[in-house]
Amino acid sequence: MAGSAACLPTMHISGEKTISSASRIVNARHENVRNAQGSLNSDAVYSLLNRAMENFFETSSAQRIWGRLFKPADTVGIKINCLAGKGISTSHEVVDAIIENLLECGISKDRIIVWDRANVDLEKAGYHVKTSTRNVRYFGTDHVGYSRRLYESGQIGSFLSNILVKECTAIINVPILKDHGIVGITNALKNFFGAIHNPNKYHSHLGDPYIADVNVLSEIRNKTRLTVCDALTCQYEGGPPFMPQWTWHYNGIIVGRDMVALDTLGWKIIEDKRKENGLASLKEAGREPTYIHTAADPLHSLGIHDLSKIDLISV
């Protein structure tokens, strides 16, 4: 059953076309994001990101879009996924490209926070913890703690990161796309397990309905203005830890606001790669990511999971 996208806020960009199709996603790919040695090229990643943004908003000026999405008064949290260390975490190049765009549209350095669960996780992925407000800040929730309030939604009850609750007015969700040994895949929706204090409680039953329940929380739903899926390097088996034998260079950045649609496409990308390599489907492997369907059901209404109804633009 496809979910309704009606609940997703329509984005009005002054002077631009209104993006009323909340299920639009743009899958931008290019081999030139890497040099001959396979390392990422920062300028090429920046260009690829903004090409995705321009196509998403149907404009030729990505900078203009960033300025409409985020105001100087915003404190923008960039929620990365860095639990698996340097091998398969949100790329520095993608984070840097986002930061550069935010700075260009007038967000001051002290109003940008790159974050995940713990400082040690950031360090393991090569991000240096910085807490001075003279610069862009990088830190984990352990730096500021969790909310005093217990947030409840469906089956879950959790404290939320104070970075999400107290520090930030807007969130850019920047997950990576990879296989997950319990819930099937981890991408946009699952990334917010890094914002709750008790993710260990909610991996049972393929994370279903817990992952959907977490994303219904108003603090997540209302503050997340954009998802930039880092699909430059992906992993199709053995996740969530880094298993180099199952990673590949997909060389993509996928942009959207409908996390269900993004996960639906991510799921397909992983399944296609598994099939190509002779692996069983996630369903056959006993870990079909059913939480994506649940996120689209009328109770959660987080987006659309029917690929035929997703406005997918490939560039």
């Binding site: 713990a118 352990d142 703690g145 969790y146 404290f159 040994g181 991996h203 049972s204 830890p241």
Partner: protein, 370 residues
């Protein structure tokens, strides 16, 4: 042993000050790896995965991930407990608070817990410590030898592993119990019974009493409100009987969820049939907590009726709990109905037992009295 209130307060003042119960916000502080200990009861799987065999969940855990309990972590294919020697709280309690009514009545229990739990009861009374992870609270550093010294200093007869779920800190509990046994301090486990057979068998060898929270007598309740299963808990109870360790049962009665007379009858009959008539059962009063704040406290009449059902089913010792001063807190002789131990809350008002027997009819009263 009777100790003066002054001495008791002096000896336990430190412990009170260490309690984090008053801490309302999660600190999310980094935790120390000083006491990192390899976990027992797990098996290694390919690609640095492990399978935990401590509790019936049998979590399969990837590298750098934790089990459901949140206190055991896979690091490069080796499974570690993060809470050995790291209790989050320590108190000196009357043994009646556990509750254990037939185990050294009137004695003290040096009571400890680490954070974490292997279930998630929607009605948990200690959810602020049971449902968090070790790095989210300031923990103490108390290795087993220190626990035993503190127990001795506070004149405790036993160490009680309680408040959260001791199954998840089984290595620490086991090591404390061994150390206690070497120094004349007993050990009691206050548990949900959701544990695999092998670790329970190992624990029983060093424990002196176990209290099991039997949360309901239906799988539906366990599935919906506990995130666990009934069957393994019943298996644990049978194992405890088989291994002849003193066991008492608590049944928290939650209005509309586990209070039907038929369910209570079925449970009591099961206990008589499988564990015998001498297992004490405590029907305790529910108060709205955690994620079940929409229900009223259990009516006293429901508890009284449950006790009546238990006695009619053939159980010899049935109590009501969480109603201080209620006559159902007292121990009566199952033969002549003489009041043997009169209680008010956690206090012993009078103890009329002669050795292990009823003073009036000489009936042997089940329990651990000496």
């Amino acid at each position: 042993m009777i100790i003066s209130r002054r001495k008791f307060m002096k000896d336990t003042a430190l412990l009170c000050s260490l309690s984090p119960f008053a801490q309302s916000a999660l600190s999310a502080s980094a935790h120390s790896d000083d006491f990192l200990t390899e976990a027992r009861y797990y098996e290694k799987l390919p690609h640095r995965k492990i399978k935990c065999n401590l509790c019936p969940r049998h979590c399969v855990i990837d590298d750098q991930e934790r089990g459901y309990c949140g206190v055991r972590e896979n690091r490069d294919g080796i499974y570690y407990t993060l809470v050995h020697s790291r209790p989050c709280t320590a108190h000196v309690d009357p043994i009646e608070k556990k509750p254990l009514f037939h185990f050294h009545p009137g004695s003290l229990a040096f009571s400890i817990a680490t954070v974490g739990c292997n279930v998630e009861c929607k009605f948990c009374q200690n959810w602020q410590i049971s449902q968090i992870r070790p790095e989210q609270i300031d923990n103490l550093e108390l290795p087993p030898e220190k626990i035993v010294r503190l127990a001795q200093k506070s004149h405790s007869r036993a160490i009680a592993y309680t408040y959260t779920e001791p199954v998840i800190f089984t290595e620490y509990m086991y090591d404390c119990a061994i150390c206690g046994n070497e120094n004349g301090i007993k050990s009691v486990m206050i548990s949900n019974g959701y544990i695999c057979e092998t670790p329970m068998r190992d624990l029983v060898k060093v424990l002196h009493a176990v209290k099991i929270d039997l949360k309901a007598f239906t799988e539906k309740f366990y599935r919906d409100l506990v995130a666990g299963e009934l069957k393994p808990v019943l298996d644990t109870l049978v194992l405890l009987k088989e291994m002849n360790v003193w066991t008492e049962i608590v049944y928290l009665i939650i209005p509309t969820h586990n209070d039907s007379p038929n369910e209570l009858k079925d449970m009591c009959r099961w206990i008589v049939r499988n564990l015998g008539a001498d297992v004490p059962i405590h029907f305790t009063r529910f108060y709205p907590q955690y994620r079940m704040k929409n229900l009223p406290p259990t009516p006293v009449s429901t508890l009284v009726n449950a006790r009546k059902i238990a006695l009619e089913a053939g159980l010899n010792y049935a109590y009501v709990g969480n109603i201080p001063g209620h006559p159902g807190e007292s121990t009566m002789c199952p033969n002549c109905n003489e009041v043997l131990i009169r209680r008010a809350g956690y206090s012993i008002i009078e103890n009329n037992m002669v050795d292990t027997k009823c003073p009036k009819c000489d009936t042997l009263i089940a329990g651990v009295w000496k």
